[in-house]
Symmetry: C2
Subunit: 287 residues, 2 copies
C-alpha cells in the first residue's frame, strides 16, 4: 500500500523520464523544469519528508543483511557543476537514513599519492562495505570531465578510461553493489544566481572559490564532456540519470525516488536469527 | 539570547553534574535518574529538537574554519555497555548536524593487522580532520575495559595504557582537537529489558549477539574497569562525563548539551574571504 501511494508522486517514473540512453542529448533537458510532478515547492518538501521513513526502513534492512553475511550494497554517484546541489542532496536526502549505514566520500583534486596510481585506485578504497550505502560527491568521472575540458587527457586516453569505468562498474554490479549515477543539471543562469548569493553573504564566502568562475567560463565544454561521458557509460548495470536541478526541492525529490526504486528492487530482508532464540531467552533471563 | 534561553534547560550544568573527578564513584550515579531537568520525556524531545539547529550552526562554522586553514576539531568518544544507546546518540544527536562534517568510526574487535600494532594505531587513523566532528562508537578505551575484565592485559600493562592514553589525548588537545568523552551509564535491569526486547522482535534479531550475555555476566567487573579507567584518564584537557542513560531521551539531551558547551567555548568564526570580493563580483557578472 505504501508502494502504491508512492507511485502517485510522479505521473511518470523518474527512471523513465531521466534515464540516459544512446541518443541522449543534454540540451534537451530543461534544468528549470519539474516534469511529472503536479505540486509546488511546499508539496515537494512535504513528500520528501514523508518518504524519508521509507528510505530509512529499506536502508536499515540492507544494513542488517550486511551484518549477517550478505554482500549487497548501494553506491550513489553524484556529479554536477559547482553549486548544482550535491551537498544539499547528501544533507536532505541521503542523511535522512541512519548515517551509521552511510559511507560518504568526496573527490577533490587528487593528492600526490593518488596521482601515482591509476585513476580508479582512490575510488576503489572508498567503495561501500556490505549493507552500506556509499555516496560519492564527485567521483571517478572527474577523470573524464575536467580532464577532457582542460585537455589533460587525449581522446585515446579518454576512450581507455570510459572502457575502464565500464569494466569497473560491471565488476561492482557482479559483486552485489547497485550503482546509481546522477547528474544534477543546472542552467548557467542558475549557477550565476547561486555563486552571486555566496558572494553577497559573508557567512558563505568560505564556500566560494575563484576557481569556480574559471570553470564556469568553460561551460559549453563541460556540457559536451558530460554528454559524452554519460552516453558512453550509461549501462544497464550502472545507469545514468540527468535530473533537472534549478529547483532544489525537485531534484531532491527525484534523487530520493531513484534511490527508493533501486532499494525496492533489491528488496532487502531482515536476516533470520543465527542463534536459538528460545535458548537465548532462557539464558538471558538467568543472567 | 539563545545562550541564555539554553542555560535554563538544566537547573545545574551537566558539565558540573556529570564530570568525573578523582573521587568519582560509579555506584553513586543512578542510571535511572534525570537530574536538573524539570520536564518529562516529551519535553526532553522537544528541547533536543529545538537545540539541534544551534549545534548545526556551530558545526558549520567549525567546518568552515577547517576549510580555511585552521586545524581545530572536536572528538566525541562514546563508551558504555551493550544497548546503552551509543548508536541512538549518533542517530539523534550527532547526525542532526551536516554529516559531511562528521567522521564516524566504530571500534569492534581488532583485525589481524590492527593487532600487530600498538592499541592506539587504529585510533590515530580515524582522528577527525580540520573542522570536523569525529565520533567514536567505542574507542581506545576498549583496551583498558574488556582487556581488564578478561585479564588480557595485566595491571602493569594497564598502567602503561592509561599513561599512553593521557599522552595521546594531551597531544590531540595541543594540536587543536577538543576531546569530549562520555560514558552512557545504564543499569543491569535496563540492559535486561533492552536485550529482551531485541529477542522478542524478529526484526531486531540481527542486533542480538549471544556474546552480549557473556559480557553481561561480568557486569560488576565491567563497572570496576570503567571506574578505574574513568578516574585514571579524566583530565582537564580530555574530561570524562558519566551520563545516566536508562532514559534515552535524557542521555541524548545531556550529550547534546555537553557538545554545545565545548563548541561554544571553541567559538568558531566564519572565515574572512581569501579573495577580493568586489573584484570577484565583477568577474562573475562578466562570466
Amino acid at each position: 500500500m505504501t508502494q502504491r501511494a508512492a507511485e502517485k508522486v510522479f505521473e511518470d517514473s523518474p527512471e523513465h523520464l531521466f534515464g540516459v540512453g544512446p541518443d541522449f542529448s543534454l540540451a534537451a533537458v530543461d534544468p528549470a523544469s519539474t516534469p511529472a510532478f503536479a505540486g509546488r515547492k511546499s508539496d515537494g518538501k512535504a513528500v520528501l519528508s514523508a518518504r524519508s521513513s521509507r528510505l530509512t526502513r529499506l536502508q536499515e534492512r540492507l544494513f542488517a543483511e550486511g551484518r549477517s553475511g550478505r554482500r549487497r550494497s548501494l553506491l550513489l554517484v553524484l556529479e554536477g557543476m559547482d553549486t548544482s546541489g550535491k551537498g544539499g542532496v547528501i544533507r536532505h536526502v541521503v542523511s535522512a537514513v541512519d548515517v551509521q549505514g552511510v559511507q560518504l566520500a568526496s573527490f577533490g583534486p587528487p593528492t600526490e599519492t593518488e596521482e601515482r596510481h591509476d585513476f580508479l585506485w582512490r575510488v576503489e578504497r572508498q567503495l561501500p562495505g556490505p549493507g552500506m550505502i556509499g555516496c560519492f560527491d564527485r567521483s571517478h568521472y572527474e577523470d573524464v570531465l575536467i580532464h577532457r575540458v582542460h585537455g589533460w587527457a587525449e581522446s585515446r586516453e579518454l576512450e581507455r578510461r570510459y572502457s575502464a569505468i565500464q569494466d569497473f562498474e560491471s565488476r561492482l554490479h557482479e559483486d552485489g553493489t547497485r550503482v546509481l549515477k546522477i547528474m544534477l543539471h543546472i542552467s548557467k543562469t542558475e549557477q550565476l544566481r547561486r555563486l552571486s548569493a555566496r558572494l553577497a553573504d559573508p557567512t558563505k564566502h568560505w564556500k566560494y572559490d575563484p576557481g569556480d568562475v574559471d570553470e564556469r567560463l568553460r561551460w559549453d565544454d563541460y556540457m559536451a564532456a558530460y554528454e559524452a561521458a554519460l552516453v558512453r557509460t550509461s549501462t544497464a548495470y550502472a545507469p545514468w540519470y540527468v535530473v533537472p536541478a534549478d529547483n532544489k526541492w525537485y531534484s531532491r525529490l527525484v534523487v530520493q525516488d531513484l534511490m527508493l526504486g533501486v532499494l525496492e528492487r533489491m528488496d532487502p530482508q531482515w536476516p533470520p536469527a543465527s542463534f536459538d532464540v528460545e535458548a537465548e531467552k532462557q539464558r538471558l533471563a538467568k543472567s
